[in-house]
Structure formats: structure tokens, C-alpha cells
Symmetry: C2
Subunit: 350 residues, 2 copies
């Protein structure tokens, strides 16, 4: 079993530790399986297989296993990361979860609907001595206190929602670890929580506890390593900026990486709001972050260039951003994040 | 019965409308009765009396009534605004609530603990056909959409928590109404909710819905009147700034009033954080507010000069702020808010 948690996070993770069976159910398309796909991409060593229903329209290119086969292959926990249109489990999914519990696995879910709201699931967990974990259910939290704490922290911030903040943060974790630097991804959303093996779904906490949640997931650390905190939303998104600001204050970041999708026509879900320009957005994030971390700096820009038609076009986009902001700019998918990591290491050499 | 609610808010208010009996229980001091005190100050015409337990150490200078007397005096609802140290109702308070229901009143509570968590209270409400209302329980909400809506809105923002934002907003409501201007206080905390007869406890909503809650309490209005939105927290408070920013975006304010307590040594509860200077704080609020309300302006500063030793000293403090910011500055308690209202009316004359 991989090492996945800081001391503050070890307890919940121990009840739903990998290896995982990824439950796809009858996911109608790739997007519906987004959580499972993130896990398979970033933690393939934890994923022994997938379970697909008879109407499933997607695959993760993992072995198709039934529940008994999954347990034989070493699965400790089944991850339920897909929902039907209403965000709930249908009768077939409930039946599958009961069968997985009877086969001996714990169950972890990223759905809004709670596992414990199904009496049959609760009964199956009890009779098998297995655990149920709802990633969307926050742990008990305190309000943020803003006190300076030990350790170094990086936070991914964005011009908008869904621009690649989780992917960027995980890419930086991989790059730093490959260089022998201690670095741990700290999750703030349900997909990230399964990948990290711990975390808080920060959009689901009560408003007064946003910054406290960010402090909880990235506690003081004394080993010289980095906590890499998954960002959420954008200070410029009228629906979610409160979450982004509380996260920015609680994360107490030493370094920011700005995530952006060039060419996006407007803020996600809001055709009447333009995407902010990068300089304005970065300056607003730095200004707000200074409240709890006066020396915070930006170390790079992660550009999601998936709309670019060629590698050359993507390179041109990144070069333009780099000139405008004076920071390394890379697309983590096309180019990795080596130059951003270089900048981070040179700025924090001591 | 006074008219208290916008169309969006009429339904909940009708179930716990005034007149009120204010329940003080065994409140050990004035602070413990803060919610009841706010109601008695701002809506004396709604308050027929107070009920005090045998160990009560405070009074609102209202008639002491038992539950039967309160009903005879016209009370429709008993307001439970005090708690013991644990924030919960003790056995005596539960018994009193049951007696009040049996006497024929509805019950509204501002406590964290839910009325409905006590089976005896639920049973008493059912057998008497009375309603229970927990002001700390948010209504179902949507995420904010940021769309420009009709009507004019003013929001009180602050350098810190507990600097007088509710008091200031209510003073502006009173002043504008005295001038024949349509103006309605929109509540975002439990005391304000009882005063307004409607509202959302914005610190208790799930983080993703902060701006949506602010949009809900101040919907589009076409009558030329003002919605005066109660502010919460401060953009410069590391514990709660996320709430303040979501409220700022959702309120879509045309006008801001900055609330401040001169002489406060540090941010509330955080000795390691200084209070921001007024110019920086106001500019940060205006900058953030422009996302959803590009033409927003500041119309005044409300200074809580309760620490000043004399009226002259208070006047000097306000004059200094006025010079520094170029905005009218008044202490709403000592001086009223006439000059702030003058500025508001002159800036929005059409």
C-alpha cells in the first residue's frame, strides 16, 4: 500500500485505502467517469481493475473484473465515481455496492448522495465489517486562524473553473518527486481526494469553515517538503469566488501557479462574464494571498492548450504568455512542468 | 402585523410573523441576549414582552409575561435567541418551549441547535398545529449566476467582524424611510433575520452557495427602492473573507458603506493580524465588487466610536476619516446617518 497521508490525514484514509476497483456502472460517456479516469491516470498502481454495467459506454482500459475477481486481485476498496443524471445511484448501482461489500471490499463514493442514505448498503457494510466513505462529506472542522505555520506550500489558482488546476498540481508533484523533492498533493475536490487518499471537498463545507478546511489539509510540516494544494474556482467567477478566496487565505501559499485555458470564450457557465486577463488575475490573487502569506510569489503559468491545433501553435501561445507575465508557461499535458519546477526550486533554494 | 417581506421572502415569514415574545431564559449577561436585544431595539413595535427564567441576569425593559399572558397580549411567535455555554438548550429551556407551543405560539430560534432535534418540541408543535423555525438553517439555494438584476442595492462592508454593519444598515433603512424612500433591510445573520422577518444565515450555507444566497435575499426589484444588505465579516479577516467576498459578489451592490471601529488593536480573535487601513480596505472592496457591479461607488463610512471618551473626541475621529477618504463619516449611534443618506441620494438622484 502506498504511503498517502500526512499525520492529520492518516485516520480516514486507513478505512478506504487502495488497491481500488473502479466502479463505472452504466456511465453513458467519458465525462461521467471523470473521477475514475483521474484515478486511473494519476494512480494506476492503485487500480486493479474496473467494473462496468451492461450499458456502460466508456472504459479505462483496465481489466474488467467482477467483485470476487477484484478481491482476489487485491482490491481493498471500490470507488464509486459515477452517477446518473440526477446525481444519485439507481437500484442497480445500489445492488452492485451491496455485492461489493459482500465480496469484502470497503466502499468510497464521490457522489452528492450519501452511501449511508441507503439502508441496504448500511446493512451490508455492518454484516461484513466493512467501511463506507463519502468523499463529499466534510470532516469536522474549525474556523481558520491564519497563524503562520511551518512548511512550504504551493497553490494552483485559476482564471476560471475547470482549467486544469488539479492536473497541474499533480504534474508538479510528479516532477518534484522525480527530482527527489518531498512533495504531497493536497486535495480539495472529490476526484483529488481519491487520488491523494485524503482531503476535504472544500465546496461542500459550511461557509465559515472554508479557510479552516484549507488549513486542515495542509498542516504545518517540518521535513522541508512541499504541500501542493489543489485550487478551486476563481476569484473572478461570480458563483464561486468565496471558495477561492477562503482557500487562498487558508492555504497560506508561498508560491502560486496560475492556471488558464487560452481561447475560452467566457467564464464557465456564465456567457455574460469574460475571462479575466492574466496579469489582472494573477495580481488579484497575489494581493489577496498576501494577507496570510506576505512573501508569496508566482512561479509559473499552466496553460491548457487543448484547443490549439498543433504543438507549434501551443508553443506560440505559451511563449506569448511567458513574455507578458515574465514567468515560465507550460502546458502540463503537452510539455510537462519542468520549467515551472525549475523556477520553484530556484526561488526557494534555501 | 407589519409588512416585512419581499415576494421571495413572504412564505417563510408568514409562519413565524410578529408580534413576538422574547425568550431570555436564564441568560447570564447582556451579551447572551444579543439577538433579543437587537430585536427590542430595532423592532420594539413587534415585541409584546419578555420571558425570563428564575436565574436570568439581564432585562430588555419590556413587560415580563408568562406564556399565557403573552398570547393574550397578541404574541404570535416566541423568539429563542439565547443559549447556554454549549450553544444548546438546557432541559428547562426545552420545557419552556413546549409550554409556549401549548399556549399557542409558534417558535423561532437563532441557536445552532435545531428545534426539531428535540422530539418533545416536535410533538408539542404537532399537537398544537404550530410552526418551528430555525433561523440558522438555510433555505434551499442555487449557486449565484451573477446576472445584472433590476433595483438598487447598498451593502455594508467592514474592516473587521463586529464593527456595526447590522446597526449601520438598519440606521440607513430608518433614515431613508423617514425621507419617504422605499428601503428594505436584507438580513444575512440570525439577529438580522428576526428583525427583517426574513433572510439567510449566510455563514451557515454550503460554500458553493454564498453568492447565490446573497442573490436570493435581494432579488430584482422594480419599485425604485433600495435593498440594504447586511454585510458579514471582512475581506481582511483570514477566517471569514470567503463569506465576505461571496456576499459582495452576490449582493451586486451599487453603493458600499464602510464600517469601522477606530482604535481596535487587532482583527477580532486574531491578535497576530492588524486591522487594515481604511483606504486599502475600501479600495479592495470596490475592486472586488466591480466584478458583478462595475459602477459601484462608496457613499460613506460608519465609525463605531464607542471607545471615544467624549462626543468631541468622536467628532474629531470622524472628521479625520472624512478628510482621509473624502466621504461622509458618521457614528450611527451618536450622530445618525443623515449625511451618508444625503450622499447616497445625491449620487443616485435619477
Amino acid at each position: 500500500m502506498p504511503s498517502i497521508a500526512s499525520p492529520a490525514q492518516a485516520a480516514p484514509a486507513s478505512r478506504w485505502a487502495p488497491p481500488y476497483l473502479l466502479y463505472l456502472g452504466n456511465a453513458p460517456d467519458h465525462l461521467a467517469a471523470k473521477t475514475a479516469r483521474g484515478l486511473a491516470h494519476w494512480r494506476p498502481q492503485w487500480c486493479v481493475g474496473q467494473f462496468r454495467g451492461s450499458d456502460c459506454r466508456t472504459t479505462l482500459d483496465l481489466p474488467d473484473l467482477d467483485f470476487g475477481q477484484a478481491v482476489e486481485a487485491g482490491a481493498n476498496t471500490m470507488i464509486v465515481g459515477v452517477a446518473n443524471a440526477g446525481g444519485v445511484m439507481d437500484a442497480e448501482a445500489v445492488e452492485h455496492v451491496v455485492q461489493a461489500l459482500d465480496a469484502g471490499m470497503n466502499i468510497a463514493s464521490g457522489l452528492h448522495e450519501r452511501l449511508a442514505s441507503h439502508p441496504r448498503i448500511v446493512a451490508a457494510a455492518e454484516r461484513n465489517g466493512r467501511f463506507l466513505f463519502d468523499a463529499r462529506q466534510p470532516p469536522p472542522l474549525a474556523v481558520g486562524n491564519g497563524r503562520r505555520r511551518a512548511g512550504r506550500r504551493l497553490l494552483a489558482v485559476g482564471t476560471d473553473c475547470s482549467v486544469g488546476k488539479m492536473y497541474t498540481t499533480l504534474a508538479i508533484e510528479r516532477e518534484l518527486r522525480a527530482r527527489g523533492v518531498r512533495a504531497d498533493f493536497r486535495a480539495t475536490g472529490q476526484t483529488g481526494i481519491f487520488i491523494a487518499g485524503a482531503g476535504v471537498p472544500i465546496d461542500a463545507v459550511v461557509a465559515d469553515f472554508i479557510s479552516g478546511a484549507a488549513e486542515w489539509i495542509s498542516p504545518a510540516r517540518e521535513d522541508g517538503g512541499w504541500d501542493l494544494v489543489e485550487g478551486q474556482g476563481s476569484l473572478f467567477h461570480p458563483s464561486y469566488a468565496g471558495v477561492s478566496l477562503g482557500l487562498l487565505h487558508g492555504a497560506q501559499a508561498d508560491a502560486l501557479v496560475l492556471c488558464h485555458e487560452p481561447g475560452r470564450a467566457h467564464m464557465r457557465g456564465l456567457p455574460h462574464y469574460p475571462v479575466p486577463d492574466l496579469v489582472t488575475c494573477l495580481e488579484a490573487n497575489l494581493q489577496a494571498a498576501r494577507l496570510t502569506s506576505p512573501e508569496v510569489i508566482a512561479v509559473g503559468v499552466a496553460a491548457n492548450t487543448s484547443r490549439a491545433e498543433s504543438a507549434d501553435a501551443a508553443a506560440r501561445i505559451c511563449a506569448e504568455i511567458e513574455d507578458a507575465l515574465g514567468l515560465p508557461c507550460q502546458d502540463p499535458v503537452r510539455m510537462g512542468v519542468a520549467r515551472i519546477a525549475d523556477r520553484l526550486q530556484s526561488c526557494f533554494a534555501n
